[in-house]
């Protein structure tokens, strides 16, 4: 009898690698489409920068959340508490250094802000370590319990923040040299927004480097696809996951400092409020995709600002509308993460 299996395929019949760049194109398309709508070039520049700055901060906060989900199928509904923690730590550090923050010298300002960021990153990271151990580890693989327990973790976390800093809002003024705007022709771009864009790009760059060029990054990308195989190759995925969780919490802490300075005031509830925004961003990006998260965050930031100028009432719902539109187009989000 003839073999019923087909002959071996020709070895060089391999499809070319074609990365999906369509979602990436959304950004320039959106930015350009907004130009005629806003009416003036200077307004457009201002709004675009505001949107990019907001998007970058959201990205810093959301990247850890989406990565943790991609790696471990754990969605931390309590992620927001690390944002709040970072922001309150900033008030504590900067509040003690008013002499330096009120100085006109950029060096002195930075000497105050950098320790605040460092404190936020370190403490949020450490709390993340405890959070993973106490809250998340016992409920791996049980989505229902995970949702509830991380929510519970957030309640306790927020209450503890209230114990330390009190329940009321605390002002977080920008250091003197960060205030005001640069003028590009007629367009005014707030200095702090420029800083936010730079920090955001730096985080994105660092993250891309770690994920794309280092062995740890390789392990993370492999772990997102097949956890068991990574373990079978001899790597402790549990440790890797803790590392990613801690890094994600630390980034949320950093994002909290940035967000607090952006809002110039912090409240214990801020984390919970941003949570919704974060979920929208990672749903848009495709759960688990860092690149998608980056694009999603910038889209959300830009659209919020354009819509806020063009149709303030619509702006309140622009994120939801964006999410619905993206999901109708790509039900898995911009970049779906393939799992075995």
């Amino acid at each position: 009898m003839k073999p019923s299996v087909p002959a071996a395929p020709a070895l060089d019949a391999l499809p070319a690698v074609r990365p999906d760049r369509v979602p990436l194109m959304l950004l320039p398309v959106l930015v350009l489409a907004a130009l005629p709508l806003t009416g003036s070039l200077s307004t457009w520049v201002t709004l675009t920068f505001a949107g990019l700055a907001m998007g970058m901060i959201i990205f810093i906060i959301a990247s850890g959340l989406t990565l943790v989900f991609g790696l471990m199928d754990v969605l931390n509904f309590g992620h927001g508490v690390f944002i709040t923690l970072g922001a309150f730590l900033a008030t504590a550090v900067l509040g003690r250094m008013t002499g330096w923050t009120e100085s006109e010298s950029l060096t002195r300002n930075l000497a105050a802000v950098l320790p605040a960021m460092l404190a936020a990153v370190v403490v949020a990271g450490l709390v993340g370590l405890a959070f993973e151990r106490l809250i998340i580890r016992p409920v791996y693989g049980q989505p229902l319990k995970q949702i509830m327990i991380t929510m519970g973790g957030m309640i306790v976390g927020v209450e503890l923040i209230k114990v330390v800093w009190g329940p009321q809002a605390i002002p977080l003024p920008l250091p003197a040299a960060f205030r005001g705007s640069f003028l590009f022709g007629e367009a005014a771009v707030e200095k702090y927004r420029l800083i936010a864009v730079v920090v955001g790009l730096a985080v994105f760059g660092a993250m891309s480097w770690v994920l794309g060029r280092t062995k740890v990054g390789l392990l993370i990308r492999a772990g997102v696809q097949d956890r068991e195989m990574v373990e079978s190759l001899g790597y402790r995925i549990g440790r890797l996951f803790v590392g990613v969780f801690v890094a994600g919490s630390a980034l949320a802490g950093l994002g909290g400092v940035m967000w607090g300075l952006y809002q110039q005031s912090v409240t214990p509830e801020m984390g919970g409020q941003i949570n919704v925004l974060l979920f929208i961003v990672i749903i848009i990006g495709g759960m688990g995709s860092v690149g998608g998260c980056f694009i999603g965050a910038l889209l959300v930031g830009l659209i919020s600002n354009y819509a806020g100028f063009l149709a303030p009432k619509v702006a309140l719902f622009s994120n939801i509308l964006l999410m619905v539109a993206v999901l109708l187009w790509r039900p898995q989000g911009l970049y779906s993460v393939v799992k075995r």
Binding site: M1, P3, S4, V5
Partner: protein
Amino acid sequence: MTFALETKELTIRFGGHTAVDAVSCGFAPGSLTAIVGPNGAGKTTYFNLISGQLKATAGRVLLHGEDISGSSAAQRSHRGIGRAFQLTNLFPNLSVLENIRLAVQSRAGLGLNLWSIWNSHRELIGRAEEVLETVALTAKRDMAAAALPHGDQRKLEVGILMALEPDVFMFDEPTAGMSVDEVPVILDLIRALKARRDKTILLVEHKMDVVRELADRIIVLHNGALVADGDPASVIASPIVQEAYLGVEVAK
């Protein structure tokens, strides 16, 4: 003759892989057909296409001559296709009786009744108790399904199928993993069912002595395609079966 169940050119592809490849086969009312083939031949996938857990890429499924290709798994269940699963698939924290009772309730079409009290339907419970008796699980009626030993879980799986009273029974390796002394209970049930000659039975089974004893007819699947079909004696004579089971002869 109208077949009780018939598949026409039934095909499913996953990516580039054709798991079931244009299988056309009719099953006569009252017959017992064994489906054999090696691991990965597509037997369970073929079952999934018939019972509606998977949607075919191409081809049709006919039940009593009527096209049911577009129906969901739930609708096919209502129309009389009953399926027992290869891997035991129960409601783990519900009691043994409740597992069966839910099947009886589905059969009675009472699922959307919001107003009556479930245990006021004595007839459903009675029927469930009867089924428990036939699969020899009466003594364990109040245990949680997950707490049963493996063999009893297999019996419960078959019991759920009995309770649905389908026209077409599909058994996917009903005796897998059962200890030797438990196997006869299941085989007796299938034997009794066959003796009634009013139900159509499809059986995937690896134990060839079981197949030889029970089947009216054997079909062989290999790499998703139907490669042999006939009464046990002629299929047995076919060299294709040897090949299917031992693998493609490779040059030495």
